[in-house]
């Protein structure tokens, strides 16, 4: 019957609807693949975090799982030397522009970076790269949350919910390259923007960039 396909991920046979997203299929069936920029609803993830690499039989090189659709008989591996190297490098690149110091971070323990490091046996410190974290002012203008750009990993989850779920359009990516960041129009800070402070973006932030304000 068309509509249901069988794929093999890490020697585990799973059946999923045809055309489903490979990353989703793996996650829903208990195979963990690191990821930051994709969520359950993104049809076309930006594929910008470069963490969800997998090897698929018939493909010459590792590919990002979030941009693949499952096909009948697909054979997928989530770990290999090549994948681990790619993910390790991508992870360290993210860390090089992410202010570390987990002990002082409100997301300590629930941080997606910590989870990825634990799953893949990666270090939460820089070994090959220099830290290029810029000292940016923390925006504590909203009443219920705080934005610390130096902890942002540019996954774009907050922007996605802002545009597609709550449909406000207060935040977006600005500038380019090393200066890229999430900001409001004119970089006014959240309180002066059209942000409604619904707090949805805070819920989806995988790291400590958007965190609820401590009570009291």
């Amino acid at each position: 019957m068309s509509g249901i396909v069988t794929v093999i991920i890490d020697e585990k046979q799973i059946t999923v609807p045809e055309g489903a997203n490979l990353l989703r299929a793996a996650l829903d069936n208990g195979v963990y693949i690191p990821h930051l920029c994709a969520n359950e609803e993104t049809e076309k993830p930006a594929a910008s975090c470069r963490l969800c690499f997998v090897e698929i039989d018939g493909f010459l090189n590792p590919v990002t799982a979030c941009t693949q659709q499952v096909k009948e008989g697909m054979v997928v591996r989530t770990r290999s030397r090549r994948i681990d190297r790619l993910v390790q490098t991508a992870f360290e690149l993210l860390l090089s522009n992410h202010r570390l110091g987990c002990a002082k971070c409100a997301r300590n323990g629930s941080c997606e970076l910590q989870k990825i490091a634990k799953e893949r046996g990666l270090k939460l410190k820089l070994t090959r790269l220099k830290s290029v974290v810029q000292e940016t002012p923390i925006d504590d203008s909203p009443e219920t949350f705080v934005y610390d750009a130096s902890r942002c990993v540019l996954c774009g989850q907050c922007i996605w919910v802002d545009r597609h779920r709550v449909k406000v359009g207060a935040i977006g990516f600005i500038r380019r390259g090393m200066s890229r960041k999430v900001a409001t129009f004119g970089e006014t800070g959240f309180a002066k923007s059209r942000c409604t402070q619904c707090g949805e973006c805070v819920k989806v932030c995988p790291v400590g960039a958007l965190i609820p304000k401590a009570q009291g």
């Binding site: 359009g169 207060a170 977006g172 409001t184 129009f185 004119g186």
Partner: protein, 184 residues
Amino acid sequence: MEPMEEPKEEPMEDELEIIHAEVDSVLKRYESNPEKLIPILQGVQAKLGYLPKEAMLQIADAVQIPEVEVYGVGTFYNQFRLNPPGKHQIKVCMGTACHMTGGRIIMDSFERRLEIPEGETTPDREFSLERVACVGCCALAPVVLVDEEVEAKVRPTRVDGILLGFGMELPSANNKQKEEGREE
């Protein structure tokens, strides 16, 4: 170095009218099509010399996308400037030869004297400071273009000379030593 602070000066009333009128005419030409965002921004910049915030807000409203999206595109491309060009435009070359012979020092000198970061305009709109990639006369490095005139083999003392030539008042020698010219 990135512009961090808010642009200080707000456009004046009559300026606002000009902005709205020019943006309107450009929007009409592209039928407020969101796919034509870049040509629209280019058209507005060609008319006004820069992209004022008011213009970006008006464009966002007309093509019905969040204003931060317009701002994102405006800050992504080097061709767009968000500050009005100054009466005197200073372009410091950062090409390979100029970089090797101290272009950064020259840029720092201008930044310190004009008290603005690279890419911005002084509040009185007298000077705007930019970096350029190569002017095409590397033998004269480090090079500065002052209103399209080439200044060759520029030293920090020449930076003061250029600004003095435009009638800018510099801190006196005593202050300079104490405060590195940052005072006042």
